[in-house]
Amino acid sequence: MSTSLGPDWKALAAAQKIELTETARERLEGLSKTLLGLRGLIDWTEEPAQIFQLAASQEDSAE
C-alpha cells in the first residue's frame, strides 16, 4: 500500500517481477516527492515530448 501521495513502489516493482531494496524504495520516494514539490515551476503549455537539444532551448529562453 502507498504510504504517501506518491506511487506504491512495492506494487510497481512486483508487477515487473522486481524486488526493490528498502534503500531503493526510499530513494524513489524521495525523488518523486521532490518532483511533486516542483510542479509549480512547470509551464503546462509547453510540450515536453521532444528530444533535448540545447540550441533549441537557448532560443526559447531568449524569447
Binding site: 526493490l20 525523488l31 518523486s32 518532483l35
Partner: protein
Amino acid sequence: MTVLEAAAALRRKQLSSVELTVQCLARIEKHNPDLNAFITITASTALAEARKADEELTLGLDRGLLHGIPLAHKDLFCTHGVRTTSGSKVFSSYIPNFDAAVVERLREAGAIMVGKTGMHEHAYGITSNNPHFGAVRNPWDPQRIPGGSSGGSAVAVATGMALMATGTDTGGSIRVPAAYCGITGLKPTFGRVSKFGALPLGFSLDHVGPMTRDVRDAAAMLQAMAGYDRRDQTSADQPVPDFMPPLGEISLQGLRIGLPQNFFFEKLDPQVDNAVHFMAYTAQDLGAELIDIRVPDGHQLNVLAQVTLLAEAASVHEPYIRKQRSSYGDDVRTLVDMGRVLPATDYLQAQRLRKRILGVYLDLLKQVDCFLVPAVPIAAPLIGQNEIAIDGQMEDTRLATTRLVRGFNALGLPVLSMPAGFSRDGMPLGCQIVGRPWDEALLLQIGAALEDRTGHVKRLPPGFPPA
C-alpha cells in the same frame, strides 16, 4: 610529458612515435597489474600505427598536434575488430565491426590507440570498482578509487600509460575521475562531440570529451573530436572554433567569474573550499572580477537529472536485463530496476523542469562569463567506502561524489574540470569552470591561465616520474 611537449619533440626529431609508444606500453606493462587501468592492450597494432605515423612525418605528411601521440579509449567506444565491453559481462565478447565517431576522428588526427580503459560497469557509477574486471585503483593512493565511470582513462593519463584518453560523462564521469586523479577533463556542450558508436547510458545526458594531463592538451584533443555528425541525432551543427589557448601568461582582465553563494560551497571538506577559493583569487589576480551569485536549488536540479538518468538507462538496458539479469553487478542492477518502475509522468515532468532551470542558468550566464565551483566535495574515498564524513556529517559516497557535477549534464553546459590543489595527505582536489553553451574556448583559456599560474599540473602521482 604532455601531448604538446611530445608533439614538439616529434617535430624536432628528438623522439619518434615508436619510442613514445614503447614508453607508454612499458608503463602499462609495469603498472597495469597494480592499477588495472586497461581492460585491453593493443600493443602490436599500436606499434604498427606508430611506425606509420613516423613514416608520414618523415614524408612531410603532418596530421597536426595529435600525430603519433599514444591515446587510450574508454572501453565503451566501439573499435573495429577490438573488443568493446562497456566494463560489463553483457558485452564481454562484443567485437564491433565499426569505429565510434571519436575513434575515427582521433585516428584521422594521427593518434595511436594503445588500449581500452577500465570503467564502472556500463558507465553507471562513479567508483570504477568493477565486479567483472576488478577495481581500477587511484595512482595517488591505490587504496582509493580513481572515480568513475571513466576511471581507467584518468589513471592512464595520470600515470603516463597514455598521453591522452577519451571519456564519457553522463553524471560527472569525466569530471569526477579527473578531479580524483589530478588531471584535466572536459565535458563539452551537449551536441559538440558526436556520440555515434559510444555505447549509451542516458540519451539526453551522455557527453563525450577529452581527458588529459593539462588544459592545452584538452584543447588539442577537443579540436580533433568536435564537429557535427549526422549519425548522432543529438549532434549540433555548430561552427568549431580554434580551442587552443595562447602560450605565455594569459590575462583574465574584463572577465566576470561567478562564485555561487549557495549550494556549491555547502557541505565541503574545508580543504576543497580553500583550494577552490585559492583558484578564484588567482583568477582575480590575473584580472578577473569575482561576482557573488545565487544559483537555482542544486538539489532539485540533481533530482531532475537522476530521474532522467534512471528512466533513460532503464530504457537502454531493458532488453539485456530481462535476459541476463545475473550478468549485472548489484549496484547497476538496482539502478536499472529503479528506472524500470519509475512512472513515465515523472520522467516527462523532469524534462519540462529541466528546460525551465536551464533558462535560469542561461540568464545568470548573461551576468557572468562563467562560474567557478568545486568538482567534488572531498578527495578520493577508499575503495569500498559506502559512506563518507563531510564536515562532520555522514553522506552516501556516490551521492556526495556526484552532488556538484550531475546537474550540468541535465543542462548540457560545457564544464572544464581541473586540479585546484592537494589535500594535506597529498590527494588531488578539483574544481569546475562552467560556461555558456559552445563557449569551451573561453573555459580552456581561463583554465590555462590558472594552470600556468598555480602549477598544480606539474605535481605527479608518487612513483610516476615524467617520461
